[in-house]
Chain length 389, copies 2
């Protein structure tokens, strides 16, 4: 028996943060209360009823009738992997439309499932046109087209009109990343003819990270059922999960019960507010932010017609050390704003207004801080910056 | 916009349960408090420090120096799959020692990673002898031997003395399931020469389900580094995770921040009580339960020398409807006791005394209920049973 790694720690004492970055976003107070209830068993009749409520409210939030709609017991990345793992068979061509970091991740994942991965690409900050997508489908004849609705790395919202019809014409499944749009930005899985979708808990849903909403339509289900072998991922195998989340309630794994308490409350709040009101609120607060930023002379990275209400990319002024300013916001004001990822690293800040945090007071607070404290971080004012920090 | 799935629900109102089944077990009250703190960012310097504390305390609890010790962002089953996914290459022989349900799951998982899966088997309720394991290693020459330390389906604790040495002699990695032993039953990863181990959060650690502790020793790390291709599972790829949990802190996925708040508190409580005291408490309360059950004339399924202090399998008396009695305990007293799984379905009850729930008062409460209310469920007393229910 060794005490080598026996740390003696004080009880946890994390501060309150205002999370205005790419996520996690703050959780709603009643979601945090739900999270801290005593666990019940994952096969308890009361939990089984709660599972049904979570599934039904996910269908509402995604605007889908898909039977196979459930939260994966992992983060959004696990749900992303579940969409690939369940339908991709070795040698299947998967076409990934890459216009940011999360397109690259889909590409990496599909390769691990031995797909023939092909890509079409756009610069980070742009979206695909229908013509570009059609050309890709014609050239590569994929079994699956994977595309990101709301690119968290760039702040672009991909227009979805017509993409589903093209995929059906080319006998291809449409796989959609809705991580930064679910519960925040207009999203219609069935109307858009989306066959596979995933999301996360910590953005539009105002829940902490830890669950990955997943939905699979009938065409994707057919491909899953026609597989020649088992899904090469036990934990994310929807044919097994469906026995637990479906009517049989067969034990698969011990569900993250408390996270699902939180998810149920998060979805309940969205249903209470009404999805159209939720979407309008996100739009209204984003526009308030965009107008304010432009008034301060800051440049937005994405043209207005493609801008995502949940995540705004702001170009870091040439004479500002972007990292120093975000550290100042965090350490002095407890406010988190994100930096750039991948091709946009060091070039943009990422400001999130998601779920519970999409509020006028948060927008005004951040705009005021930018107005009053950013000037000290201009390199011409570096001596002042040192004093403020 | 459709309101078809827009349920109108009351706020969550789950009852307090006493979870004396195979898990989840009740969480410690201060763990639930930690869980409900406001999230902070997964790349926040304070969260990075917290990650280090969780890793270090997991090393203490597992008695290991393994660098690659971290909680997977999923339940115990995800951590189980991580041990297989990272080291198994197609065609590798994996020998699974099956003596219960979770051995079967390891077999299923290893097959999905295209291993040549071989098994040795024992009846559900027994353990393997060193000779049986040596014979298996000689016959199958595996790259990995997978075995369950604490079989939650049978209540057997596998004696571990000598198994690690045999594995080294036969140039084979030792993979150990410690789901129902971590933080409750004597466990020495390094002394036992275990190369890969996994566990869960909701048993000995007194945390809700949702995290899967994982540990990988240097020999397993070598096999991971020598792989010819990428790990065929992105979410559980330890070579990527190590960049996040290791010194680089490179973004991989958004960590389940709040679950890790709870995990830090759960591990802190264990370090405060001291591992030897924790193990002794579990042993003491289990013996109190075993003695009480035998005094009531109930038969224990596992011989005393192999019994697991965390989970006791009790044979359901021939003239009792086991399911009716557990439903009675749940509905009338809010107490959950488990039924049998697989080969033991309908034959045993499974009583768990794990973590925060391993307490004298819980043992006495359950023994009293068995003494006073079980007689009414004897078939000779079915009329009385109907009245009580």
């Amino acid at each position: 028996m060794s005490d080598r790694h026996r740390l003696s720690l004080a009880p946890i004492d994390t501060p309150e943060r205002l999370l205005l970055g790419p996520g996690p976003s703050n959780a709603h107070p009643t979601v945090l209360e739900a999270l801290s209830r005593s666990p019940i068993g994952h096969l308890d009749p009361l939990y089984v009823a709660l599972m049904g409520e979570v599934q039904e409210l996910l269908r509402y939030t995604w605007q889908t009738d898909n039977r196979l709609t459930l939260p994966m017991s992992g983060t959004g990345s696990a749900a992303m992997e579940a969409t690939i793992a369940n339908v991709v068979e070795p040698g299947d061509t998967v076409l990934v439309a890459v216009k940011g970091y999360f397109g690259l991740r889909l590409q990496d994942m599909a390769g691990r499932y031995r797909a023939n991965v092909q890509t079409i690409e756009k610069p980070w900050g742009e979206a695909f046109s229908l013509e570009e997508i059609e050309a890709g489908l014609k050239q590569h004849k994929p079994k699956v087209l994977a595309i990101v609705h709301a690119e968290t790395s760039t702040g672009v919202c991909q227009p979805m009109e017509g993409i589903g019809d093209l995929c059906r014409q080319h006998d291809c499944l449409l796989l959609l990343d809705t991580v930064t749009s679910l519960g925040a930005v207009p999203l219609f899985l069935d109307e858009w003819k989306v066959d596979l979708a995933y999301s996360c808990s910590q953005k539009g849903l105002s829940c902490p990270p830890g669950l990955g909403p997943f939905s699979m339509g009938p065409r994707a289900e057919d491909k899953l059922m026609a597989r020649s072998g088992k899904v090469p991922n036990w934990y994310l195998d929807v044919s097994l999960l469906n026995q637990y989340w479906g009517s049989d309630r067969v034990y698969h794994h011990t569900a993250p019960v408390n996270m699902n308490f939180g998810m149920r409350e998060a979805l309940r709040l969205i249903a209470e507010e009404g999805l159209e009101n939720v979407w309008a609120r996100h739009r209204r607060n984003a526009e308030r932010l965009w107008n304010g930023l432009e008034r301060l002379g800051l440049a937005l990275h994405v043209p207005s017609e493609l801008r995502l209400p949940t995540l705004t990319t702001v170009r870091i002024p040439e004479d500002v050390d972007g990292k120093a300013f975000t550290l100042h916001l965090l350490n002095k004001h407890g406010i988190e704003v994100g930096g750039g990822l991948g091709a946009l690293a060091g070039k943009v800040w990422r400001i999130g207004l998601m779920g519970y945090n999409s509020r006028e007071d948060n927008v005004d607070l951040l705009l005021n801080l930018l107005e009053e404290e950013l000037p000290a971080f201009r390199s011409s004012a570096s001596a002042v910056a040192a004093a403020v920090a």
